[in-house]
Every structure is written in structure tokens, then in C-alpha cells.
């Protein structure tokens, strides 16, 4: 004597259907809960992807940056910058690096005619374009020849061009930087990435368009800069190789500086992982908040099931009288609760997906709920039904049939 699972589902579904309004009201908590699970999981996915995209825009995950470590007190009083000669040595020790890009920078005033613009000037080498994955949009970038000859040339960002030249073609024009005169040889590509923060510029990369670049040698020999290079970047062959190269580079630099940590060596891959880790904390918190809303929905359901069992006491007595075993009663009510929460889950997923479209459109992030997210949401909602259905189902199955049949 056995009653099949599909039979329980049929009974459960007809119970659900014969109490449509109550079932729907019961299920609202689950709908909202599942909706928030699906929205939050997809939002987290979308934001992660966006972060990764941002890292890629900034030169990819293979990049390693060496910078002055501002938080280090430097008790040994070692040199807190590199000289050109040291950098040549470092380059020769890391042949596996794909590109090598030392930089110096200075805050300078530019003028063209009567127009002025204050910005940061970078002294760089030709590898810069490859390491930053950022090239000129017109003209040319700095060449090895410019480095050797310490040529008076400059490449400018789009904002700088617009400020100084407006609509005119800047290539070949001569601008004044302090007392030196420089020929504009190129304009960098415009960089743009939608800024999702509430505050700040629309363009998360606006600061890059304000920059200007000249040969590092020109800057050292002819500019006001000294042979004093405080930072450089290196590009490894792959993000994985970058982690190894970072460690090697750090060891080399520590050796050069008598083990004093006057420099920070950061790999973009590492930074991305750290960022993801930070975001993960928020994600877990948000996920738990949505789980809590599901639990609240579950408690509501348990409550309604208990009330419904009270109301259906006589029915339970009748079922027992005609031969239902306790397990049949237990299964009937548990199946019904799971069915209710699963139907709520399906509705929640449907609403959640349409909500994602709206949110994604608003934030201009691509938000796609993967199949795994949908399956997780469905399983969580069914699981809530299981957890909160057990106790009412046990209570129903434990009813005394004689008393149940007399229940008015």
C-alpha cells in the first residue's frame, strides 16, 4: 500500500487551486524573497564583471606597478627613488617581462597662445602604449629615437587637446611647458567608462584624458625633473605569470634597497582579487538579507499551514478513517507547502528577471541571471517550503483520528 509522489503533488495542487486567493497571499513573502535572491545574485555577478572590466580598461591583469611606499618610515634612510641606470639593471634581470615602463611625473602648466592648462606630465618610454593598452588616436606616440635624442615632443590627452586647441588639429603645434617648447606629436585615444557611483564624474576614467606624455629622457635631461624615478610598471606575459613576476621583482628591489620596503610592488591581478574579496563580504551580507526575507516568508507559511491544519482537522480524520497512514498525511501537507513555496519561487523568478531588466537599464550594467542563479533561487524557495513545512506536517500526521473526526 503506497501512494506515489505524483499523487501527493496532484492532491497538493488541487488543495492549492481550491484555495487560490489564500495560496497567493501565503506566497507573497516567498515571491519577494526569491525575487531579492535572484536580483542580488545577478547584481553581484554584474558588478564583479564590471570591476574586472575596469581592471582590464586600466591596462589588464598582467600589469605590475612599482610605487613609493608612503607608509614606510625608511629607518635605514635608503634612496626612495630609482635612477635610470638602476632601472636598466632591473630590466635586464627580468627578461620574462613583456614590457617595461618607467615613469616620472610632474605637475606642470601648459600654455598655447593665451590658453592655459595645469596637469600632470608623464615621462615615459615607447612600451607605455603596450603596457597600458592605450595608444594614440592621431599622430604618433613617443619612439625609441625620441628617448635616445631626448626630443622635445609631447603627446596629449583628449581633454587637454580640447582645452588648448578646441576644434583645431593639434599635431605639429608647439606648446609651452614652463620655459620649454614642445611639439605636439600625438593625441591619446579618448578613455571612457560609465561611472556607477552616485558621486563624481560620469566618466570613471576622466582623469586619464587630462594627462600629457613626453620621453622620459627629455624630462630628466631637459625638463625640471631630476634623475629621480619614483614609479614604473611592468607587464607579464599573463595574469598568472604576473603573480610570480611580482614576487621576483619585489625580491630584486628589496635587494637593491638593503631589505627596506621603500617600494610597493602591486600586481593588478592581486588587486582585482583583493577587490573581489572586499566585494564578496558585501555580497554575502546582501545574500543573507535576502535569505532572511525568505525565512520570514517561510515563517508566515508555517503559520498559515498550522492554521490550515486546524481548519482541516476533520478532513485529516476522514483521510485516516479511509486508510491514510500517518506518513501519507505528513507527505500530503509537506508536499503542499513545498508546492506553495515553489510556485512562489517561480513567480519570484519571473518578477525578479523583469526587475533585473529595469535595474540593469538604469545602471547601464549588463545583468543576466544565469541558469545557476535561477536553479539556486528555485532550490532555496523549495527548501524554505521543506524546512517550514515539516513541523506543520508532523503535527497533522500526529492527530488523533477519533478526536479529529469529532472536530467541529
Amino acid at each position: 500500500m503506497a501512494i506515489t509522489v505524483s499523487e501527493h503533488f496532484k492532491v497538493g495542487f488541487s488543495d492549492f487551486w481550491s484555495r487560490k486567493v489564500r495560496s497567493l497571499v501565503t506566497v507573497i513573502g516567498i515571491i519577494l524573497g526569491t525575487m531579492s535572491v535572484i536580483v542580488i545574485l545577478s547584481l553581484m555577478n554584474g558588478i564583479n564583471k564590471n570591476t574586472l572590466k575596469w581592471m582590464m580598461e586600466r591596462g589588464g591583469l598582467s600589469k605590475i606597478t612599482v610605487r613609493k611606499n608612503w607608509s614606510y618610515e625608511n629607518p635605514g634612510n635608503v634612496k626612495e627613488h630609482f635612477v635610470w641606470k638602476e632601472l636598466k639593471l632591473i630590466r635586464s634581470l627580468i627578461p620574462e617581462a613583456e614590457y617595461f615602463n618607467p615613469q616620472i611625473q610632474n605637475w606642470l602648466r601648459f600654455s598655447y597662445g593665451k590658453k592655459e592648462f595645469h596637469t600632470r606630465m608623464y615621462g615615459v618610454v615607447p612600451d607605455f602604449t603596450k603596457i597600458e593598452e592605450w595608444d594614440v588616436e592621431s599622430g604618433r606616440f613617443i619612439s625609441e629615437f625620441d628617448i635616445e635624442q631626448s626630443n622635445n615632443v609631447v603627446v596629449i590627452g583628449t581633454t587637454l587637446r580640447d582645452e588648448l586647441f578646441g576644434n583645431k588639429n593639434p599635431i605639429g603645434k608647439i606648446i609651452t611647458m614652463d620655459r620649454s617648447r614642445l611639439i605636439v606629436i600625438g593625441v591619446m585615444q579618448h578613455r571612457f567608462m560609465k561611472n556607477n557611483d552616485v558621486v563624481g564624474n560620469d566618466n570613471a576614467l576622466a582623469y586619464m584624458n587630462r594627462r600629457a606624455f613626453m620621453p622620459i629622457s627629455t624630462m630628466i635631461h631637459k625638463g625640471r625633473a631630476k634623475d629621480n624615478i619614483s614609479s614604473f610598471t611592468v607587464k607579464a606575459k599573463s595574469p598568472e605569470a604576473a603573480l610570480k613576476l611580482r614576487d621576483k621583482l619585489e625580491a630584486i628591489i628589496l635587494n637593491l634597497r638593503h631589505r627596506e620596503r621603500v617600494f610597493d610592488v602591486n600586481s593588478a591581478k592581486q588587486q582585482a582579487e583583493d577587490m573581489m574579496k572586499n566585494q564578496k563580504v558585501f555580497q554575502i551580507v546582501f545574500f543573507f538579507i535576502s535569505i532572511i526575507s525568505l525565512l520570514v516568508g517561510g515563517i508566515v507559511i508555517a503559520n498559515i499551514m498550522l492554521a490550515s491544519i486546524q481548519e482541516r482537522t476533520r478532513e485529516i480524520g476522514i483521510r485516516i478513517a479511509v486508510g491514510a497512514r500517518r506518513f501519507d498525511i505528513f507527505a500530503q501537507f509537506l508536499t503542499q507547502t513545498i508546492l506553495v513555496t515553489t510556485i512562489g519561487g517561480i513567480l519570484g523568478i519571473a518578477f525578479g528577471l523583469s526587475l533585473l531588466d529595469v535595474i540593469g537599464g538604469y545602471l547601464e550594467i549588463e545583468l543576466i541571471a544565469g541558469l545557476n542563479v535561477i536553479i539556486i533561487s528555485l532550490m532555496v524557495s523549495a527548501g524554505v517550503g521543506f524546512i517550514f513545512g515539516i513541523v506543520p506536517a508532523i503535527i497533522a500526521s500526529k492527530l488523533n483520528p477519533v478526536k479529529a473526526l469529532r472536530y467541529e
Partner: protein, 227 residues
Amino acid sequence: MKEIIKIAQLKKEYTMGKIKVPALNGINFNINKGEFVAIMGPSGSGKSTLMHILGCLDTATEGEYFLNAKNVSNLQKKNLATIRNKQIGFVFQTFNLLPNLNIQKNVELPLMYAGMSAKRREKIAKKVLADVGLSDRLRHKPAELSGGQRQRVAIARAIVNDPAIILADEPTGNLDTNSGNDILSIFSDLNAKGHTVIMVTHDPVVAKKAHRIIHIVDGLIQNGDNS
């Protein structure tokens, strides 16, 4: 005649707080296969308790109950469910149909718990409902039927599994005289076809339809005791 029920020294006590209230004080009787027996007694006499024990909805505190020569006094609840399903058909005073199910589904219920396929269930339920004259009401809900019709549905449900005994608890109590007589003649017909019918009632006119009357007063049998 073959004995279908044998009751020996059956006692039942209810515990209310610390006080033990006796409902049955050691009763004995036998019922043979194919008998039509009425159990009579005033309210509080213990006839309902006896009925629940006979129907395997409750168990005795002491004594033995043999159903079809099998001692069911100490069976597990799971096995009692099987006995209720296969050997016993209940008919109640208040019909006790499930209001959300149509009458065909109501009649199918015991077959469903017996694990029968939906197709076979439907066939059998339709046939039994035809036997009680309700072929044209298969899709109706119980609330759409008269009292007499509802009790006929309940009878159909009670006999659908072809049980050894039919237990009826005041089956005419909620019906007018005409409908009550209809129901009683159905019981007579079923009995004529070989079903054992046990009917609990307080109405002597109703009890007269049975072949034998067992009187219970204060948890003891007064006459009709054939042990």
C-alpha cells in the same frame, strides 16, 4: 457461520488529567460473516468507543479483538491503517465527505490510499456510484447534493474497497425519515449481497432493521451477548 469479529474482555479507559474514566468495562461478543447487527445504547454508554475500536481508529486498554481471525489488539498504527483501508468501510452520521473534492474523487479516496492507479480508481468509483444511483452526479461537490445523496456517496466510499465489515455510526441521524429509509434499505441490500453491517444507533425503529441488537449500558452489554 464463520466468525468475522470476536471481542473478548474488551476494556477501554480514558485518562482525563489524573482521573481514569472507564468507557468499556470488559465486553464480549461475536459477529458472524454476513450478519446485520445494531449496537444500541444511550449517549455515554460507550457505543461510540466500541465503534472506534471495531473500526481500528482507536485501541483498547485491555482485552482482545479478532478481526477475520487475526488479533488486531496490538497492531502498529501503520498496520491499522491498512486494516481500515482494506477491511473496514465507515459511514458517519455527518457523512464526512471532503468538501473540496467532487463525489467521484471522494469515493476514489480509499482506493488512492490503497495505491491503485488513477485509471482503475475512476472505473471502480464510477461503478460503485452507479450502484447507489448517483451516476449523473460524478462531478458534483458534496455541498450540491441532498443529505440522502451525500450519505449514499459515503456508502459508496465505504464499500468501494470491498471491505469485510461496514461500520455505520447513526447513519440516519441527520436525515429525514424518507431518506433514512432509503439508506437503511441500501444497508439491507448490501447485507443481502453478503456484506457484514454493524450499525450504531439510539433509535429503536432503525435498530429493528438489523437481525440482532446488542444493547450497551455503562460500558457493559445487557443482552444479545452470545459469548
